[in-house]
């Protein structure tokens, strides 16, 4: 009876209606949001630690000073908690806080090398909305290489001033004359946590499928999930196109890669929710140090404010008043998509520029 008016996974459908009051339901979402913020904070501290270690080892003291001023974890958790979009989802009783919690849980687990936790988060998140499935790439990279760091070759570079003018020959020389101390810092891909992640995720997914099959009788079945039309698949394929190029270019920053993937999927999914943007805006806070020099930040900020104010107005004009037609609402939708595109592109650009800056600092 419920299944037609509310589309969600069987496990959630079984759990949620058993909550008697609206307030308690909202409380669940608030708690989920709060836990998400705490996990974001821990993840941010992890990332900060790795970054500072790198800076200290390379004796980039001026950068170390600036990074000490802001704590990425605190910024991320505060941005996530005070985000109007996140507050809106909690008030509206949307289930996306639970999905967000699961995504952040998997990232946190991967960051602090807890493959079982990460696998649990990933499996549940995938079960809830299927889009987080692509996060397997950054999670495996995280487990294999450890948290975000500048590119590997920068570890090999010392902060010595180059004797020669040509950068290529200089780097060649340095690569050949690597000392033992800096070699230790280079993280090689470690297969052991990845394997245990795969094992754990197969266990968890088996468990979820068993759970599902128990509830399947009441709430449709897997075939319902796969009964999507051709066009839906065509549109969703766009999400997959950029996975490989991004993974090649950002493999040394798996957390940021996860952020980009989440932003892209929330931009290109067919039924986006403001809860998705609450998540990626919160994740954006993790990279305050790297994103210092992001371009168009003013435009992006006010663009987000403008769109989030205008789209309810346009919706009202279309649905309630009937004075505007669907195009008005579509216009705000397309403006929002453009803003998200700009945010993704500019943040990727800023992080790559940050890497270039580090390289310059090391080689200059």
């Amino acid at each position: 009876m419920l299944g037609r008016h509310m589309s969600n996974t069987p496990t959630l459908l079984v759990q949620l209606p058993s909550v008697p009051y609206r307030i308690e339901l909202n409380l669940i979402f608030v708690i989920a949001d709060f836990i998400t913020a705490m996990l974001l904070r821990l993840t941010g501290q992890n990332l900060q630690l790795a970054y500072r270690q790198f800076l200290r080892s390379k004796k980039l003291l001026n950068l170390l000073e600036t990074s000490r001023n802001v704590d990425a974890g605190d910024v991320a958790s505060l941005v996530f908690l005070w985000n109007p979009f996140g507050i809106l989802t909690c008030v509206g009783g949307c289930t996306s806080p639970i999905e967000n919690l699961m995504i952040v849980l998997s990232l946190y687990g991967a960051c602090s090398s807890l493959p079982s936790l990460s696998a649990f988060g990933w499996v549940i998140a995938t079960h809830l909305s299927l889009y987080p499935a692509i996060l397997i790439v950054p999670i495996i990279l995280l487990l294999g290489y450890g948290p975000d760091s500048p590119p590997k070759k920068l570890f090999l570079l010392t902060s010595m001033k180059p004797a020669r003018s040509h950068p290529l020959e200089q780097s060649h020389e340095q690569v050949s004359s690597v000392d033992n101390e800096s070699e230790l810092q280079v993280h090689h891909f470690s297969w052991q946590p990845v394997m245990s992640f795969i094992l754990w995720s197969s266990i968890w997914s088996f468990y979820v499928l068993v759970l599902c099959s128990i509830f399947l009788k009441d709430f449709g079945s897997l075939s319902e999930m796969l009964k999507k039309s051709f066009f839906l698949i065509v549109f969703h394929i766009n999400i997959l196109f950029m996975i490989l190029p991004l993974a090649i270019r950002l493999k040394h920053r798996p957390c940021f890669l996860a952020f980009v993937y989440i932003a892209i999927s929330s931009m290109l999914k067919s039924y986006p929710s403001v809860g998705d943007s609450a998540l990626y805006l919160g994740l954006l806070g993790l990279f305050v140090n790297e994103l210092q020099d992001i371009r168009f930040s003013f435009f992006l900020f006010f663009g987000y404010i403008g769109v989030s104010l205008l789209s309810p107005v346009m919706h009202n004009l279309w649905i309630w008043r009937g004075t505007g037609n669907a195009n008005f609402y579509f216009a705000t939708g397309i403006a929002y998509a453009c803003l998200q595109t700009l945010l993704v592109v500019e943040s990727v650009n800023a992080v790559l520029n940050h890497d270039r800056m580090l390289r310059k600092q090391l080689t200059a």
Binding site: R4, K153, L168, I248, R321, G322, F330, I334, T341, V345
Partner: protein
Amino acid sequence: MAVFFRLSPPPFLLLLVLLPLSTGFLLPTSVAAGGSYDGVGGVGGEEEFTEELLLRPLPDRKVLAHFHFESRVPPSSTNGRHHHLFPKAIAQLVNKFQIQELELSFTQGRWNYERWGGLDYIPRVNAKPPGLELWAMFDLPIDQIDATWKNLTHALSGLFCSSINFLESTTAFAAPRWSFKSHSSNLRYGALPREAVCTENLTPWLKLLPCRDKAGLAFLLDRPSIYKGYYHSQRLHLFSSETTGIVLEQTLTIVLKPNQQRTLTTYPTDQLFQPNWSVNSVFRKKLMGQCVLAKSSKVFLELDRGLVREMGSLILGDSYSNKGFEMSVAPNRVIREALGSHGDSVLFEYNLNDYGENNPLDVGITWKLPFAWSCPQAPFHANRFLMGSGNERGSIAIYLQSTQTSESFSDTADVCMMKIAVFQIVPWYVRVYYHTLKVFVDGKPQVISDIVEKIQVSPSEDKLSPGIMEVMLRLPCSTMSVVLTMDFDKGFLHIDEYPPDANQGFDIPSAIVSFPSLHAKSSILAEDPKDGSPLLSKFQESNLVRSYTEVLLVPLTTPDFSMPYNVITFTCTVLALYFGSLLNVLRRRVAEEERLLNKVSSTISSDFPFDDGGDALGLFVGTLNSGSLGSSPSNIPSAHVVSCLQFSGLFIQYFNGVFCMSSFLFLVVGERRLGSCYEAQITSHACIKVIFQIEG
């Protein structure tokens, strides 16, 4: 060709054999047409056909004409699969789909229950919801019924030249359990409120009559005067059983406004008088005798109870001409309702076989005194309306208003209880939340369990089944008004699910309000049951009193139908922006890396150290770019020009491909706005070119 030759002789031979046979069959009928047919074969094994017409003045100066044609076929036809009078198409339908009972009605206009009454035979059975209504009961196992219903709708839509086949979809029909007909699991019900009814539906209906509209009562059916009327409902009711055979009832109920004949003198009291009318003035045709194949052919002129009560002693005796009114033709007999009081209706019967082409029957009535009366009413008037504003949500209210005055029940209020059954089908895109059902009795909210005796609800499933609600209310008779409200959300339809005029809104079929505890029947007695007219025997049948509410018009949110192409264009533009700029960022390198790359590619070719993913990707894209655009530094050797394709070009191809495919699909499927397709295509080209010029 060989096959054709092998097959062709048998039909030809068969035809030869059949020819004398068929002339043999035709012979009796042609003799009958000669004038000596007197309906002998009324007993048992013969097919019969009767035609009757009931005329009745209505209180609001209109005239009700009710045509009743009845064909019967005995259970085992002596002629095998051939029929004299009975339409073969219908017999085949009944046999093929194992129909127990079927009713199909085409209606235009709405029966005005307040003015035209709601209790006697005509509104009880013949007042139908606007548009098309079909229900059928099958003599089949439960699991075959839905499939049979689908086939039946197709067969009927072919027979009656209408879109009954839209009832095939599971979103359109329902299986009411107890509120429509008592306890029947083999019944299917469907309604199409938007169906337009016109001559194309009437013609096939008339074809089922043995004389069509060439003779007999159907000769009156002058198309312009029928369709000019306030209400017309053309109905086909089939009943089939082992004992009675197949009974086909075809009725046509029309409410017309007669032309004023009083022109000589105008009195100020003219407005009070009923208009004088005759068959000729109403239909512009005269009755030229009966259909020769009909067993009986009668015309009744009825003065209903209210009118008779109003006339009082004027109408005592068999007077067809008195101080109050005057009939133009003397009736063959006068039938009175057998209740014995003043309030009985009176029927003047005219036998059509006394009239012919030389002396056509022109029944009419001329009023001498003004009368005002009201028709007998069902205990409650049912209305239904929408509440709320905007296109997101709203609520449906069913409003039942008592037709009785409160005094009439004051003494027995605590004893008398009234049962009311409400049945309503709501399409899936109006998502009714049945838990929000509220009942207000006399304006005060009530606990549902106090009022509702029985309720059965099946919520809608998106694009699968409609929402069905059956409620049995139990109320004291003294109740003045009952309101049922329930909230709903409006769904969004897919673009190709909208009808051509989507902005008009969507029709929700009428709800049916019936009164199971009330079985009204009139006690008109046909003196001779053997010779009794089927119409009069119908009067005596006790049927469920049923009334239909209004059809609701729900405006749904509509997209801009000219937009799909533009939407595709804009969306593809944003996608191109995303892909293009993101790839651009990923492959971009600062000046010294560019130089490094150039140097490397010119010096080392085989063992190039790909120490960074970005370098590899950048090299790849860079070489592709340089190959096709030619704008790159010239010192990149041609050995690295792997392919002439470049990414931006690839994406232009990709999006234009997607766009052209989808616009082509819309062209083929939608064919809505062909003009804007070109515009959109041009826009898309321009946008994508501009973007890649900026990016490049």
